[in-house]
Every structure is written in C-alpha cells, then in structure tokens.
C-alpha cells in the first residue's frame, strides 16, 4: 500500500517536473529557510524560478489578508497561527496531500501539524522547520537564571531583556505554575491567567533593560554584555555561543516553548505545482540539512539531521537533555480572537510605569 502511494507521488512528481511549464514560485518565508544554494539547486532541477520574501508570522497574515490570499504561492506560518487566521480571513487553501511525499516527514510531527492546522476537515499545513524559544543566558554572569521567573530576580536587575509578545506571556504563565494552553478554549480562564501574568510582568518591569524587537537587537545586547539574561530563540543562543562560550541557550525548567513552521498555500496562489515541487524538494534529507545549517534550526525531514555539522548537534544536545525535550510545550492552534485579549494585556504592561 505504502509503496503504491510512493509510486503514485513519484509519478505525480515526475509528471509535474516534465509536463508543467516553468513557473515562478513566490515564497513568503522566514530568513534562512530558503538559502541561495538551495534555491539555485531547485531552479536547476525543476526549471522553476523562486522569488523569496522574508517575513514573520504577523506580517504573513497581514500581507495575505490585504490581498485575500494572493500575491504568494507558498507561505510558511507557524502551525499554531494557521487555523485561527483561516477561520477568520480564509487566506489559505487546503493542501492536496496526494501531491506531497509524506514519507520524507518525521511521522509524529506530520500528524501533530496536520491536526493543528485542520479546519473543517481539510489540512492546511505540513511541518517544515521547528525550534524552541526559552532563555539565552550569559552563564558566567547570570548562571542562576534557570526559568522565566528567574528573569525577575533582583540579582539580574537591569540586565534582562525579553519581547513584549505573546510567547513571553505564555512562558511566564507556565513558569508561574499555570497551563495557558489548557485554557485556550475558555476565554474567561485564559483572561484570569493573563491578569496574573500581567501583574507579574509589571512588577518585573524594573528588572528589564529594554523590550527587544528584532533578533539582531537582542544578539547585540547579549554580545556587548549589556544584557545577561533574556528570553529568546534557541538558534540565537547557539549563534552567540560561537562568539562567546559563556552565552548559550538554556531550556527553562517550566519548559521551552516549541514551535513548528509549516508550509501553507495562500488561497489565491497561482503556481501550485511549483509549490508542491518546492515542498517535496526541500524535505529531502540532504536539502533539509542545508537549510538547518543556514537557519540553525532542525527540520521535520526524516533523517534530515544526519547531514548537519556535529557542532550544531552538540549545542542542541547540551541545551536539550532528554527530559528537556520531553518538557517542550508545543504551541496548540491559537483560537481566533485570542490575540485581542493578549494585545490588551501587553498594552497595559507597556504603559505601566
């Protein structure tokens, strides 16, 4: 049975490769997810050309909403941000799973992502790159910071930075012993959690040097020593580790927050064949390894970590012992409307003196 599927997709692939005329694939993605060498290889193999637009979760939704899902052929939002946006704005179209070579994916991730991106029984996303956010700490100066709540400790006063975004709210909620994900469906319960986190973050404000906005900003702050403990992505910590062995990513005790960036197809995308071709192409283990090297994050490609440099693997293993991996809190799909509650909370924290 499995071999028939394989054969069928292989045939479909072959068919698209040879019969479809060369298309332009307009890719809306994150920095590092479509490195130049991968694009060149893809263009040489398929004849399609790729236009890469770098973005982030919020902008992807805003861009696609502005055009009712047009202007791009393939987007890469995080898996938790698809269902809500789809229900609200209808900016994606369902994936035709028959055109995707599912054997290239790590099965557990594929299943989880399909479940999370399901709207009205249709699948809207398949996993691509995954990673976590947690703590990036200068261990020589703030080794005591082990959890989100430790950022509010007087010993690191004035040397702390985090974003004023939803991951911070979630991280602190876990660290304070609550489970925000369990409360996703219950707006009142979620609001109660937010209120507690709000009080905590306002209280913590004097500890914070600044709320960082962009990846480069937090890296600069950590590198210069102006900030010694922060909430940030794992890859940022590992990159800094290359320059300064004291700085590294620490999986918080309450659990790192796990995210998976997916492939999703904008509702009015034109080059669907090229999009499927790109998905199947980049999920090949050797291509996935190239992307991991460029982006610093591992992919959902089965065997994709085999070709990754040992140094990166070593850092990953140092930050993630087995119990830390088991403790990763994977983001469930965000129900529509939740962002409004979080936004009001964030505004109040921002305005507080």
């Amino acid at each position: 049975m499995k071999s028939t599927v394989l054969f069928a997709t292989g045939a479909a692939l072959a068919l698209t490769t040879f019969s479809a005329q060369a298309d332009t694939l307009r890719l809306l993605t994150w920095g590092g997810y479509a490195p130049e060498d991968v694009v060149a290889k893809f263009e040489a193999e398929t004849g399609h050309t790729v236009e890469v637009t770098k973005s982030n979760n919020e902008e992807m939704v805003a861009k696609l909403r502005a055009t009712n899902g047009g202007g791009f052929d393939l987007a890469q939002p995080s898996q938790d941000r698809i269902a809500g946006a789809q229900a609200e704005f209808g900016i994606y179209k369902p994936l035709d799973m028959s055109k995707i070579d599912t054997s290239q994916f790590i099965p557990s991730m594929l299943t989880a992502t399909k479940g999370n991106t399901m709207v009205d029984g249709e699948v809207y996303g398949v996993p691509h790159v995954w990673g976590t956010s947690g703590l990036v700490v200068n261990t020589a100066m703030a080794g005591q910071v082990q959890d989100y709540m430790d950022l509010c400790d007087p010993s690191v006063a004035g040397k702390v930075s985090y974003r004023l975004k939803r991951p911070t709210l979630i991280g602190f909620a876990f660290s304070m012993g609550m489970d925000p994900f369990a409360a996703y469906a219950d707006a009142d319960a979620y609001q109660a959690i937010l209120d507690k986190v709000e009080a905590q973050l306002i209280d913590c404000k004097s500890n914070v040097k600044t709320y960082w906005g962009g990846g480069d900003e937090i890296k600069n702050l950590l590198r210069s020593g102006e900030v010694t403990a922060s909430m940030a992505w794992d890859t940022g910590g590992w990159q800094l580790n290359d320059d300064n062995a004291d700085i590294t990513f620490v999986a918080p005790k309450a659990g790192a927050l796990g995210w998976i960036d997916t492939f999703a197809m904008p509702a009015r995308g034109r080059a669907d064949d090229a999009a499927y071709a790109w998905i199947n192409f980049v999920m090949q283990p050797e291509i996935a390894a190239m992307i991991t090297t460029a982006a610093g994050n591992f992919t959902a490609s089965q065997g994709g970590d085999a070709g990754v440099a040992d140094a990166l693997k070593a850092k990953y293993q140092a930050s993630f012992p087995q119990e830390a991996i088991d403790n990763i809190k994977w983001y469930p799909a965000v129900p529509a409307g939740l962002e409004a509650l979080e936004g009001a909370t964030l505004d109040r924290i921002n305005a507080a003196k």
Partner: protein, 287 residues
C-alpha cells in the same frame, strides 16, 4: 469654441494629478474609513457601528498614548525650532557662496542614509557600552557605564535629529528673503539684538517657522522607528499602537479607526496652533 478647447486642455492637464489624488489618497482613505466603521461581532461577522471609535475614548490607555505622543511631538517641534533657528540664521545671513552651500549640504547628508541606519547610529552612540558612555568614562566624567538609551530623552534626540532638515530648509528660505537692510535699520534705530530678533526677524520668518513646525510635528507624530528603537520600556507611541492593531492583533477595524483619529486629532492640533499664532495655512504654504 476656443474656450471649450482650452477647458479640455485644462482637464487633460489636471487628469494625472486628479487620478493620482483619487487612487493614492482619496480612495484608500475612503476604504480605511469604511473598514473603521466595521465592528467585529464574531468570526467573519461584522456590523456597521462607531464601536471602534468608542474604544479609543473609553480606554484611557489609548487616550494617554495619544496625548503622550502629541506632547512629545510638540516638545520635539519646539526643540527642533530652537536648535534649527540659529542654524538657519547662520546659514542664511552670516555665510555666503560656497560656505553656504556646504553647510546646507551638511544638513542634508544624514538623509542620504535610511532612517533605520540613522537610528541605529544613535543606538551605537547612546548605548551603555556605546561611544558616548565610553568617552565620558575615558575623560573621567563618569565612574562607570551609563545607559543613555531607552528613555524619552533618547527619543527626543532621535526625533530632533530626524526633523532638523525639515525645519532648517523653510527657515533658510524665509530668512534668505529678509533684506539685510531691515536688520541694519533696526540697529540704526537703536534696537538691541534681542528686540530686532523679536520685532523684525521672527515676524518675517513666521511663515517659515509655521510651515517648518507643521512638517516637523506631523513627521514626529507619524514617526514609528525612532520611538520603538530608542524608547524605553513604557514609551508607547500612537503609530506603534496602529501598527500593532494592523499587524499583530489582526484588528484592521480598530487600526483604521486609530488612523482616522490620528489624522483628525493631529489636524485639530495644527489648526489650533495656527489660530494661536495668528497664521493661516494658505499664507504659510503659499510662499
């Protein structure tokens, strides 16, 4: 017959401008206004109401943010005027020929790089491990590193720096047109430097001052990068709120309402300032 022809010519001549105004300015605003009247009542369900505008007036946070933005912008405008006026006076009245051109160009040079790069430049200067802090430690003024970044003074520095050219250019133009003999006549009749500045130079430069102030105020009010990057933990800026509503909250309806409120309230402030200074928009912009 001839007048018909000339009217047709006029219509054809004005058509590009009219199309430009319609498609790039009027239509988007009409669209935004319609969006701002949509109240979200459920998933993909909207009702027409003024609820989004009510949010602004009922939520003190938004009010305060606007008041703060306006207050900071007015302060930045006043500071820019106070710094820009002597600069413009020096360029317009005390230099000639090549020096004048050079000084004018020097005011322009910062605008050859993007606003982002300029702002990053200030971050490098002002940060705790930055140039200013290191220099002050080096000459012994400071005992340890001091953070100059992430406060309202840093925002003010950035705003004034960004706005300087837009104040200096109209001021230089109006001061240039001030006949030197008027200043000399002032001295000749026994005027002091201060009374000549107050009674002759400033009244003459008033249109330049007003147009410079309007431009700088609007630029500061609409600035997004500078307050976000240089500002501190509680430095909310109204444009930042609008951005958040559009991009991170997906709340275009409220964002549009905020956009219109910004337009309306800032116009109101400019109108009041014009009334207070006894100037009219036609008089200042017509020059």
């Amino acid at each position: 017959m001839a007048s018909d022809k000339s009217r047709l010519g006029l219509i054809l001549l004005m058509a590009p401008l009219a199309i430009w105004l319609m498609t790039l300015i009027v239509l988007p605003h009409v669209g935004m206004f319609l969006v701002s009247l949509q109240e979200k009542v459920g998933i993909r369900q909207y009702e027409t109401s003024l609820a989004n505008y009510a949010v602004f007036f009922n939520e003190p946070l938004y009010w305060n943010t606007f008041a703060r933005t306006a207050y900071m912008s007015i302060t930045a405008t006043v500071l820019t005027l106070l710094i820009g006026f002597p600069v413009a006076y020096y360029i317009a009245k005390l230099t000639r020929g090549r020096t004048k051109t050079t000084l004018f160009l020097m005011c322009l040079i910062p605008f050859w790089v993007s606003e982002l790069v300029r702002t990053f430049g200030w971050m490098i200067l002002l940060r705790e491990t930055g140039v200013l802090s290191s220099f002050l430690q080096y000459i012994g003024v400071l005992a340890g590193p001091v953070e100059f970044l992430y406060n309202d003074a840093a925002i003010m520095t950035g705003l004034v720096y960004t706005s300087m050219l837009f104040m200096v250019v109209p001021l230089v133009t109006t001061l240039d047109s001030l006949d030197d003999s008027l200043i000399e006549a002032g001295y000749d009749l026994g005027g002091s430097s201060f009374s000549i500045l107050r009674e002759i130079v400033i009244p003459h430069a008033m249109p330049g001052i007003v147009s410079g102030c309007i431009v700088v105020f609007m630029l500061s009010l609409g600035n997004y990068l500078t307050p976000i990057l240089l500002g501190g933990k509680d430095s909310l800026w109204f444009t930042g709120l609008i951005y958040d509503q559009f991009i991170t909250r997906f709340n275009w309806e409220l964002g549009s309402a905020f956009g219109f409120l910004l337009l309306g309230l800032s116009s109101l402030i400019v109108f009041l300032a014009l009334k207070l200074s006894g100037q009219s928009l036609g008089k200042t912009m017509g020059r």
